[in-house]
Symmetry: C2
Subunit: 336 residues, 2 copies
């Protein structure tokens, strides 16, 4: 049980071979469960490899196999609201396959993006996942004609590529139908800027469920907009909403706060539903927000498995894959 090779001088297959008294070919085959040899030899080699702390050099392996068991996750999402759950999913799906993930945050800097892509290619990544925060924007870097497969997530991909995003229309339907189910009839949609493709898609779905005459208020992605929207809706004359479907949790939180400060009870008088299910916002709102979860981790998992498939040459259908959202019920809507 003597351990060779302390700090430096890592132990190589030669050390194992010498210790086991066999050739390195045999050692390699024993360790990889390939070739044919006596079970006794195979076991002995494996045991000795363990004893001397042998760790195969992935660089050498990669040189031969043309696989580095490494992929890159490119993102321009600084805040990390999207990136971290996505990354968690990617990593979770790939760790079982021995794949490690380079995370490259490129902000919106094309030069930085270029540098990171170049570095990843030199390191022979098996594939790249390009992720963003808007499905209607490209990352600031050209990913076409790369020698490795690229999968897109929440960002606009090239023709013939595979792109993952959540199903905004279905998510919006989930929200609105929930409000309708619990008896709300005067639902207003308070959302982000209408130049976001997702915003328009959700608004369309909202109107479709409501029946065409729903009010949609476009604004920006902040609590202050949620507050302002409430002021606007409640200061005018005319009938007041009995429910707000908000474009994200921050808007919803702003709305809930503004309602409470006006003495309007949530959820008794008005139901409010958010979007994103961002724990830090949804969980701390009073009352905690019912929200729509985009299942980012699952999306990351699928994106990871997909680059892997592509890297292994398995066939993958190109196109946009919309993943279903999930309703997360807390207390801001009341209901069943």
């Amino acid at each position: 049980m003597n351990v060779i090779g302390g700090k430096r001088g890592r132990v190589t297959i030669h050390d194992v071979a010498a210790a086991a008294g066999v050739s390195i070919s045999t050692t390699s085959k024993a360790l990889n469960d390939t070739g044919r040899m006596s079970a006794e030899t195979r076991e002995r080699v494996k045991r000795i490899a363990g004893e001397v702390g042998f760790r195969p050099n992935a660089l050498a392996r990669g040189l031969l196999s043309k696989r580095s068991f490494t992929i890159g996750l490119l993102t321009n999402d600084t805040y990390g609201r999207f990136t971290l759950p996505l990354m968690a999913g990617v990593s979770e799906a790939l760790v079982d396959h021995g794949v490690s993930v380079f995370l490259c945050a490129i902000e919106d800097d094309p030069a930085l993006g270029q540098i990171h892509v170049e570095a990843m290619l030199e390191k022979q990544v098996d594939g790249i996942i390009a992720s963003g925060k808007r499905v209607d924007r490209h990352l600031p870097v050209d990913l076409s004609n790369l020698p490795v497969p690229v999968v897109y997530a929440f960002t606009e991909g090239d023709a013939n590529s595979v792109t993952f995003r959540s199903d905004d229309a279905q998510g919006a339907r989930l929200a609105v139908e929930w409000l309708v189910d619990i008896g709300r009839r005067r639902i207003v949609h308070v959302t982000g800027p209408d130049d976001f493709f997702s915003v328009r898609e959700r608004a369309d779905a909202f109107r479709a469920v409501i029946g065409g005459n729903g009010t949609v208020l476009y604004g920006h992605w902040a609590e202050s907009w949620g507050q302002e929207a409430v002021e606007r809706l409640w200061s005018g004359k005319g009938e007041r909403p009995d429910a707000l479907f908000c474009g994200n949790d921050q808007i919803a939180r702003g709305a809930v706060d503004a309602l409470r400060e006006r003495g309007i009870r949530v959820p008794e008088d008005v139901s409010v539903i958010g979007f994103d299910n961002w724990e830090i916002v949804a969980g701390q709102t009073r009352p905690p927000l019912t929200s729509i979860d985009m299942e980012l981790k699952e999306l990351g998992r699928q994106a990871g498995l997909t680059v892997l498939a592509l890297a292994e040459g398995r066939p993958v259908e190109p196109g946009v894959r919309k993943l279903p959202c999930r309703l997360v019920v807390r207390q801001s809507c009341g209901g069943k």
Copy 2:
């Protein structure tokens, strides 16, 4: 300007050598600005390498040089409040040195941690940064006796290792001195659980500045605790505080909300200061929170540069490095 090697069949140094009509030795030396040859040859080789889109294989290089230009960032911080800024700093510092970063989120799962460490070592990382969210806790994985250098950030390190953390005492002093400077005299410290080493360190610093008789309320890291603390402080009889120094931005936000709802004006009647400078919380509070920034990105930068130094065999002084915090003035304290 004809481009060899489309999708697969990457172009190697042999292709460049052939195209330039020189040996691969000469090609290598030309590209690396080593060896001696006519300036004409060197230029020509470089030009041709560019034309054929040659990208040196880092796996092959790493095999020779014993350097992979790769490091691993291990973290058990799921939320990403610490990890992402840290990662940004690490990446920013290292990208100029051609180093890419593997991000490994290990939750608190020892088995998962082991797998990730093993994978990184096989991939021959030049070093590892272990990061956590508490300086008084170990990651759930043994990082001693690794064949590569390890640097710690916000987590307890081994003896003789180098550990980065922010200077909590100095940060607390910054906060309290600011409150004193703007004329506050009855300052209460509302903070997290007292089994956190950082909490005790900040509380000690708070008392030292205040003069020994400061009130410290220990609780948990949530808005609800900030609200509860305000109820407690304002519902009793006795003199009311004119300032709250909160242990994080969430507690501060809860406190500000509770004060507003009691009709107490922030910052006119009471100043509130947070800790973390977590934009998403501090920026959305009404009024926006003055807070203490732990400079996580800078910390990441230094941690990155330090593993790099260690990986290159440069001498690094072991020990704990406390990085100074920075006061970020918004509106919740008022003042000059």
